[in-house]
Symmetry: none
Subunit: 190 residues, 4 copies
DNA sequence: GATGAATGAGACTTCATTCAT
DNA sequence: CATGAATGAAGTCTCATTCAT
């Protein structure tokens, strides 16, 4: 009855969404928040109507991008921080992932700017989720679990320093990031 | 009705331009590159037509902002780096200035993103001026003057790391920046 | 897999077209001219590609709807007006039909607005057919057959009044229309 | 100091809003809910950017139009119904006003369709205000104040009948409405 | 016959910029 | 000098329509 089966359609949808999200992350790196839907569609090799077939609007797309990335980010915390692995190893892993997956970099970048370029009701949600899923686990690994409300601050500073440094090569779109040097600069003491 | 003297007019102009530039920097910190001329005018407590009385257009204004800031940045290099003062002192001085003067922070922030959100012919000019006026002096102070074309990289990494960290409090618009902790994290070895 | 017979296919087509036309009329009542093809398909419980399997485009569908309704409307005129039946009975019959068949109501409604929301070349055709097939027969029954070019006006006024009143319950989608009261109000003198 | 005084600006704004509302009502009569902002701007002899200078969007404009018209409609109720004036006089007055002021006709027209073409949260507000400000006063004048929840129904039927009839000439954009004949048809018994 | 993924024309809306006062 | 009304280029987004399966 159905000319394409439900499964076929689902497969198409999954693939397209992947294409679009990847394209959006690349476009963000290139143009910043002013990226246009046309750019994203072109980067994904799709008509721009198609992007709207999958996402209601620009911020809906960005939202999905960030939520996916947050899933990844939380997983990394679990893998590297809760199982006795060192903070240094975690930092180096982050640098590697950012280089290979722009969407993950975009998440950390926006987080360091407190998601200030996003429309507000949503921004607050991301701020909170990022803090709980990424910052706090790192803070705990740093052994700085005091009841001081600024206890997360050090963890955030490390992330922000790494993001700042990594940005230099990400925005230059050069394949080689000076990961060794960044690690020495920022993670030498861990 | 009574016409103003030339001097009075000049004084007004100077004050207005200061108002506008400060407002623009604050607005950039708040909203990013998508800041609107209306926002800037409102932040400067001026009618929005007035901004155009002083600046031909948005990028003209941004240009002036960045050029002013570059003048300052170059002066800082001369003061702290060429006269035997330490890299650490320079870094701490930067943090202090960024906290007090948003326009200086904006310059360094855009520089770390290679001015990618600016229209291109102009962006290249800023990239070059920033490299020559800020990065290279720091690289020289670091004693890394080799003929390696990547010799400036380490200097840029330090700046980028500092900007990333400083951004945390700048974007939060909190008066207190954790300058001590940032200095230990990034400048400990100098 | 087993191919269907010609008769089976024909039966399917007929049923589908009925589904679609009914759905279109209901959707028009609900949303007005801005009804979407998706809405119609959903109301007909069909995939939205399917509607295009039967109708080339939106106005082709609307055209078919109105032509079918016009056939009905003309038949009603013949039944109630040419055979000595009273104007009042005709009016009451109209109210009953509109309540049960949205597509008939849609026709009269659009007619009272001179089909102004339809694309123009086509609108004129409907205006003319409605006048000849519905208005003039009623005008003749009213005994107002003068050569006065405005002789149809009274007939049209009665129809428009009835449509206005009937709309109250049709748009409210309530099953019970106050047919008695409407008849007294508008048809009392006939 | 101010190049145009506050009063001058206010005068301009008032005039422009009048222009725009008038143009919007005329355009609605011509094209229905699918009227375009371009059409409205053109009809008002303004650039379409100007319309957005005064109204955030299409439904904001329509909202203002309807609220203004509701003010008028409520005033008419007070003038004709609460002071012993007859229902018939009220009906005839309505016909006259609709002919001269399209925005008033648009209000009654949309009301008879229960504002179904407006976005829903807002539509409900208009439904309620129209009922309280227009229908109920008429119902009371009709002396049909029973506790029957359908007591307003007769009043609404009269309005709907008048709107249906008046529409014939309004949509035809003919200057002469057959007010006498409509009055005899619908208001003869009052 | 039936479906929904894909698409772009065209409408909606924003916002930098001009201009009259 | 100062202002805000006026404007349209350039984005955003909707939705009728096409098309592969």
């Amino acid at each position: 009855m159905t000319p394409r089966t439900k499964e076929q359609n689902e497969a198409i949808r999954t693939r397209r969404i992947g294409q679009i999200l990847r394209a959006a992350a690349e476009t963000y790196v290139l143009k910043g928040i002013n990226m246009e839907m046309r750019d994203i569609a072109a980067a994904a090799d799709l008509g721009y109507g198609t992007v709207y077939h999958y996402y209601k609007n620009k911020y809906d797309l960005l939202s999905d991008l960030l939520n996916m990335a947050l899933d990844e980010a939380e997983k990394m915390g679990l893998n590297y921080l809760s199982q006795g692995s060192s903070v240094k190893a975690y930092g180096i892993a982050l640098l590697g992932r950012w280089r290979k997956d722009p969407s993950l970099f975009v998440l950390y970048k926006l987080a360091c700017e407190h998601f200030r370029e996003l429309p507000e009701p949503e921004a607050a949600v991301f701020r909170e989720r990022f803090r709980q899923g990424v910052i706090t686990p790192l803070a705990e690994a740093l052994g700085t679990i005091t009841k001081d409300p600024r206890s997360d601050e050090s963890a955030f500073l490390i992330i922000a320093g790494l993001v700042g440094c990594a940005g230099l090569s990400v925005y230059r779109r050069s394949a080689d990031m000076n990961e060794q040097e960044i690690a020495i600069l920022l993670l030498g003491s861990f």
